[in-house]
Subunit: 328 residues, 2 copies
Amino acid sequence: MNSHNVAVVGATGAVGREMQKTLEERDFPYNKLKLIATERSAGKKFKIKGKEHVVEAIKPGIFEDIDIALFSIGSSPSKEIVPQAVKEGAVVIDNSNAFRMDDNVPLVVPEINPEEIKNNNGIIANPNCSTIQLVVVLKPLYEMAGIKRIVVNTYQAVSGTGKAAIDELDKQVRDYVNNKELKSEVYPHQIAFNILPHIDVFFDNGYTKEEMKMVRETRKILNDDKLAITATAVRVPVFYGHSEAVNIELEEDITTDELRKSLQETEGIKIVDEYPVTIMTENDDDVLVGRIRRDNSIENGFNLWVVANNLRKGAALNAVQIAEKLVK
Amino acid sequence: MNSHNVAVVGATGAVGREMQKTLEERDFPYNKLKLIATERSAGKKFKIKGKEHVVEAIKPGIFEDIDIALFSIGSSPSKEIVPQAVKEGAVVIDNSNAFRMDDNVPLVVPEINPEEIKNNNGIIANPNCSTIQLVVVLKPLYEMAGIKRIVVNTYQAVSGTGKAAIDELDKQVRDYVNNKELKSEVYPHQIAFNILPHIDVFFDNGYTKEEMKMVRETRKILNDDKLAITATAVRVPVFYGHSEAVNIELEEDITTDELRKSLQETEGIKIVDEYPVTIMTENDDDVLVGRIRRDNSIENGFNLWVVANNLRKGAALNAVQIAEKLVK
């Protein structure tokens, strides 16, 4: 196939919009592009590569002429609709949590495990946003020196929750400026000028689903079931871009320069001196790394600061990069 | 002494104002209260315990009738003025970094090492804000089970920088709401809707002064020169309250319930279920702890979320608590 029929499912959401933009910016070689969403969003119009596209509602047969479908509609809807798309002949790249830990579904970051793509049975899973930027950095170090243990703490943007959360932070700062009472609907607490150590539901072990996604998905992508990793996932009053403080204990002794060089040479990573800040990711698709320094509290220890655009590399871009590998 | 003459030096700053409020709220038994500041702030008036106080400029002899002087004027001014106050007969409780690591100066958190107060030679140092809330939590665990290693990442409010930084965050969100360009003067980057992994100056080892304060002061307060600890200090767009993700590796095996109980029984700590958020510290002087859970990536590992008011327990309240012990 030289040209393909592509669908974006969940086209009107925060990630869906980024998928549209990413396909356009990277001049993805599609023949036809279908924008698909729920009944509620059907009829909305978007201009892509100079051509108007009208959003269509999901219905039987809608995927019959589709080769590749990029899904971003959340876990429960994906469980329902993805099998339909596969049955109707599309290969699905799904951004939800629905299939990520399924043994029959490859979980892919194209810089890391592109070879997994060919093992798909109709579904390829896009990892969680906070996992993607982490594994992009871990992979070269894992290969170079082995990883003994990781402690990661996140500083995650509200756009990871979706458009309603972006609106809630925006509304709360407007209400602050206008001396009005701040109201919370999306989050259980005020998010403006506040820090919430809570992303997604809590499990019995005291961890959130987001934290366990980072643990399990990292193990699956690095293909190491025993990898020692612990995470604290935290929501911060930032619109776009996730930041992560990553503490790594390596198996083998390498110098700080060797570590830096290895990251510098990795596709998709950019070292920022003296350090990257979150808003830099609004115009940069790379995973930005800084604050590289030895952790003397332990042998072979390092601290890193890792920042990426959660909607782009953390979601839409990674999905489109998978699609690009798929059509090659 | 049953009643004392007390001075607040730097009385018009963010911490100085909190010192005034804290002395009033806790009905500190002073005979006379002097508010002292630089020439520029002299003449400003504040009402405390119903009585008007006029800010006086620093000048020779101003401490001659003072028993206890609470200083919050920054490191360089403290180095200059504190010796004058001591010479004129005051005991100084200094909130700056000037004397903290001096072997002749006790570094005190009253819940932890009140016995050090009597070893003062005229100066008692108040620890760094991010250190205080950390050691309050570490101390009972250190005594109960020993501590092998700590990895701490902070989420620190702009009020830690001072009034100019509070104003800068406020101004930036107002400019955002009014569609104006956001300008940065206090911080090297925009702080609204952004995360800055940078607090205080950088050292050659790649760490910031704030991070090394947490390492060195924690070791001094716990009286353990070898304590393994690494820190990443991060500024977040929050006005008041520092949050910390604390990963602890204990020497001995204890249960999560034992750990929780030990913290629950510690003076100055409150366990918040299911978790504390930063703005809770605006009306709570305790160190708030939540997200207590076992870290299975290592033996005897735990993760905690620790939040406190950086201007109160992290500065003014701790200083006043030291003064209270001093007068007993």
